[in-house]
Each structure stands twice: as C-alpha cells, then as structure tokens.
C-alpha cells in the first residue's frame, strides 16, 4: 500500500470523522416539537421551551419567519405549533379549512407607532390615525406637517405577512393588507425594524411594545380628540386600540406532549415568561 493510497484512506476517514456522524437513533429522546412563526412571539416560545425542556424529554425547536409563515407551516404540516401575533385572516381560514386550525392565545401585545428618538425629542409626541395614514400613503412627506422638524419622513414598513403590520394597518386603515405607496423601506423581523429606525433620525414605523427603547420612541395616538398613551397601563385598562393576542396555532387536536407545552406556556411559569418578555399575561386582560 503506497503513500498515496494511505493518504486516500486517510482523507476518507478524516471526512467521516470530521463530519461527526451524529447519532442516527431517536432512542431515548422524546418527541420533537417544531415551533415556527412570528418574531413577536418568538422570545416567549424560545424562553419557555428552554425552561420546559429542563423537565421534559421533548425537544422543542423554535424558528422565526413571521405570523404568515407560522400559519402556513402549521397548516402545511411543516411545524407542530405555529406562532402568530394576529388572528387568522378570512383568506387563510378559507385556504386551510381542511387543517382545522386551533388557536391558543398565550399572551397579549400592543403595537405602537414609533419614531426615531430625534423626532420624539423634537416634539412629535402624538399623531392622529389620519396623520399616520397620510404618512403611509405618501401624502405627508415632511415632519414639519405634523409638528416636527423640517425633515423628510423615512417611512418604514414591514413585510406584508407580518402580524404586527396586520393589526397596525387594520387600526389605521381598517384594512389589514393596505397598500402603502409612501413606504421608503421594508423590514422583516421586529429586531430589523427596530435597528433601521434607530439608525435613522427621521423614521416612523410600527413595533411591538416589547421592542421600544431609548432609540425608538412610541408616540401617543390622538383618536377623536382623546390622547391615548402607549403604556401598559392603558393597554391593561382596555383603552389602547392596537392590541392583539399572541397565539399558538395547531392543526387539529395536538398530541399530548404538544398540549403539555402549550399548557406550560399558559400556566403560571409560562405566563411569568410572557411578562418578562415584555408582554401582558393572557389572564390579566378582560376585553
């Protein structure tokens, strides 16, 4: 056996060892639960899964994608639980009739209209739905027109299937899939939108309350002369209008392990995680 031939065998061995040959058996591990969907619900699911797995043999994989992806995946059998930060739309209900989608609300979130901190500092503290609509339709192009500095508005929109966009547009326009010709920039996840608004000094956008921070400020909504502050207090009292349920969705009756996980999230420990993640536990709210 020559040097080269040995080299060859070495190469093959290196590759097979290098590839780690992961154990192929499923023995000893529990059911694998795939959770896919809304980036708003993601932190809750991900933290809860970590906690849940400490006392369970199930393995829970959590993946992002957006509410639309969550609903599609669970209906298409590609996931066990879909996460959605909005209700199932009529269109989806019709399309996925056969899947018998079941909804489990696990928490509550509010979507705020947010602006870059520079704009907030410059005095834009409140906007009417009409103003927001004007901005998104491209009729209002300068912050000057809504009481801000003389600066063009960077209108940040979200991808169409995102739950945040659905509820926001529903409130502003009464149409969840409103077309918005004023848009300058489209983002995907909450993280991305937050980043883009923070990087800009003249942006407006929509964000779940949990993503609001010093760089990204929420403005009050001025609805029919009444100012509604974007705080958890107003949400809890039922005054804040852009509120949505954070949902887990399954197709038909779930298996017991999956049910156990959903139960865990809805239970006291899970609800604590919901609160830590910046949302309102489902039990505290009576609409």
């Amino acid at each position: 056996m020559g040097r080269y031939q040995r080299g060859w065998i070495g190469l093959v061995l290196f590759l097979s060892i290098g590839s780690g040959s992961p154990p192929a058996t499923n023995a000893g591990t529990g059911l694998r639960i795939q959770v896919v969907g809304s980036t708003t619900v993601l932190p809750v699911a991900s933290r809860a899964a970590q906690k849940f797995m400490e006392s369970s043999s199930s393995r829970i994989l959590v993946n992002a994608g957006g509410s639309g992806v969550g609903i599609h995946s669970v209906a298409g059998g590609r996931a066990d639980i879909g996460m959605a930060s909005r209700a199932i739309s009529q269109d989806e209900k019709k399309r996925f009739e056969k899947s018998h989608l079941k909804i489990y609300p696990v928490g509550l979130d509010a979507v705020a209209c947010v602006v870059s901190s520079e704009i907030y500092q410059a005095g834009v503290r409140q906007l009417t739905p009409q103003q927001i609509a004007g901005i998104y339709l491209g009729k209002i192009r300068n912050w000057k027109e809504v009481g801000g500095p003389d600066r063009q508005i960077v209108v940040v929109d979200k991808e169409r299937h995102r739950g945040t966009r659905h509820v926001f547009m529903q409130y502003i326009f009464g149409n969840a899939s409103q077309r918005t010709p004023g848009t300058l920039l489209v983002t995907g996840s909450n993280n991305e939108e937050q980043a883009k608004i923070a990087q800009s000094d003249a942006a407006i956008g929509m964000l779940s309350f949990a993503w609001i921070n010093d760089d990204v400020k929420a403005v009050s909504l001025l609805d029919q002369g009444k100012e509604i502050l974007p705080t958890w207090e107003t949400v809890r009292r039922g005054n804040y209008p852009i509120v949505r349920k954070l949902n887990f969705i399954t197709a038909g009756e779930p298996k017991s392990e999956i049910k156990a996980f959903i139960g865990f999230v809805k239970g006291p420990e899970g609800q604590k995680i919901v609160e830590e993640s910046g949302y309102i536990p489902i039990g505290n709210f009576q609409p």
Partner: protein
C-alpha cells in the same frame, strides 16, 4: 472505414463495473444540473399561466392579488450594472498594474490576496454593509436613509472586485511576451504597449471576466438583502432609494411560501428569470474567456 472498435458513449469498456459506477456518478451530476433548471421551469408554469407576460412586466407584487416581477428585475439590473460600472475602472487599473508592472513575486502575492478576498463569505460583507456602509452612505451623501440601490451596488462592487481583477489579470498576462518585445523594439513605451498591444489582445478575456463578475453580482443574496431596503417598487432613475433584487426577494419570502401555492410558483418564476439571465451571462463569459486563452 469501418466503425472502429466500439466507439461512442461508453467506449470499449462495457464490462468494467468501476466504469459503470463512474458513469452513475456522472449521471447524478447530470441530473443535478439539468434537474435544477427543469424544476424551476415546471414550478413556474402556474404563475406564467395565470399572469402570462404580465408576470415579467407587472409593477406590483401583492401576495394573493397580483404578481409582477418588474421591480425585482429592474432592481437586479440596476444594482448589477452599478456594481460593474464602479468595479471596471478599478479592476482594470489593478489588473494592468499587476500584470505589466509588478515583478512576478509581487504579482503572485497580489493574486493570492485577491483569491483570499474572493472567498470572503457574503454574510461577512452583509455585516460590514449594515454596520458601516448604510450609515456611511447616508451621512456622506446626506440621504434620508442608507438602505438604497446604490448601497447594494457599492457593496457588490467590492464583492466582485477580486474576481474581475484576477480574471482580467489572467487575460492580460496570457498575451505572449513576443508581442511585447516586438512592440518594444519599435520604441513604444510600456504604457503604450499595454494599451495598444496587450489590452486589445486580451479583450475577450476581460469581457469574459466582467460577464462572470456580473453573474456573481446578480446572484448574491445575503449581502444585498441586508442593505437594499427591500422595497418592491420600480425605482425609475433614482439610485438613492430602496429597491429589491430577485435574490433578495427570494431570500425574504421563500420561507413564507415554502413549497406550494401560487406565491411559491411566483417565486420560482423569479428564480427561473434569474437562472436564465445568469446562465446566458456565464455561457458567453466562458466563451470569451476560453477564446482569449487559446
């Protein structure tokens, strides 16, 4: 003349099992390549049937209502064109200097650096893009926002620079030295030789290099996706607005539509469009490169 001895596809070796194993491997490769194209075609049939030419020419992409690919096609063309426009003078200068002026040890080093650069993953460029380029473009050009077609084109220019440079340099370097010596004996300066003798000789190779660079730029997903702004709108003649390219659109929406429905078919239609554009470019690119190396 008689047919010879078992010519044709499998030569004289029908009886070698090893040969059949190799043939099978080759067949797998063949299937992969052809299957890819075939899949794209088959999967995009529904959208082409429902939208017809409107698919390529439509200006709106609203899932569930209408699918028009024009914004993405325009975006891809603009971004790629911009990248080439930016990269060409730089890459050619670099290639000319490396090939005609640098001593061979330095030349090898420069080529090595280019090869390393060419291997930098797209995600790294994406990271550099979101952290520096978008902010930089916005501040320097005093724009509303830095996520623009220009940003994407600029980033792509940096990405394809090593590829274009090193391939053009190969083309320049492959011009036989007799040509240079002949020109030298006529009293031409080095620059004159480079511009009048070497450059025209290696033109096909350079064109090929550029076409291959375009191909790479057109297909880049991640880096573009992070800095382009993802707005599906036909951008007109303004480079400093957000836009969308075909790959960035695919990257953003593939998960949502995964595997079924008209939306998926529309995405596959986009993919097919991209595939055809890149395949044509590559075909001619290789044709030119080969012609110059002969």
């Amino acid at each position: 003349m008689k047919a010879g001895f078992g010519r044709g596809l499998f030569g004289t070796h029908h009886s070698e099992p090893v040969g059949w194993v190799f043939a099978a491997m080759n067949f797998i490769f063949f299937l992969c390549a052809v299957g890819l194209g075939l899949f794209l075609v088959v999967e995009s049939v529904p959208i082409l049937r429902s939208e017809g030419w409107g698919f390529l020419l439509g200006e709106n992409w609203w899932v569930g209502e209408t699918f028009g690919a024009l914004p993405m096609i325009c975006g891809s063309l603009i971004v790629t064109g911009l990248a080439i426009f930016l990269v060409l003078p730089v890459a050619l200068s670099g290639a000319l200097f490396t090939s005609e002026y640098l001593p061979s040890s330095f030349r090898r080093r420069v080529k090595g650096i280019m090869e390393l650069l060419a291997g930098v993953p797209g995600i790294i460029y994406g990271l550099l893009g979101v952290s520096f380029l978008t902010v930089g473009v916005k501040d320097v050009l005093n724009l509303l926002d830095g996520n623009t077609l220009f940003t994407a084109g600029f980033l792509l220019a940096i990405m394809i620079l090593p590829t274009v440079l090193t391939l053009s340099e190969d083309a320049l370097h492959s011009v036989p030295s007799e040509f240079r010596e002949a020109a030298e004996s006529l009293g031409l300066t080095k620059l004159q030789i480079a511009l009048w003798v070497v450059l025209p000789q290696s033109l096909p190779g350079i064109v090929g290099a550029v076409l291959l660079g375009i191909g790479r730029a057109m297909g880049e997903t991640i880096a573009v996706m992070l800095v382009i702004g993802s707005l599906d709108r036909v951008p007109g003649f303004n480079l400093f607005v957000s836009g969308q390219t075909i790959p960035s659109k695919l990257g953003r929406e593939a998960v949502e539509a995964l595997g079924s429905g008209l939306h998926w078919s529309a995405l596959m239609g986009l993919g097919l469009t991209l595939f055809i554009m890149v395949a044509v470019l590559t075909f001619f690119g290789n044709l030119f490169v080969r012609r110059s190396s002969q």
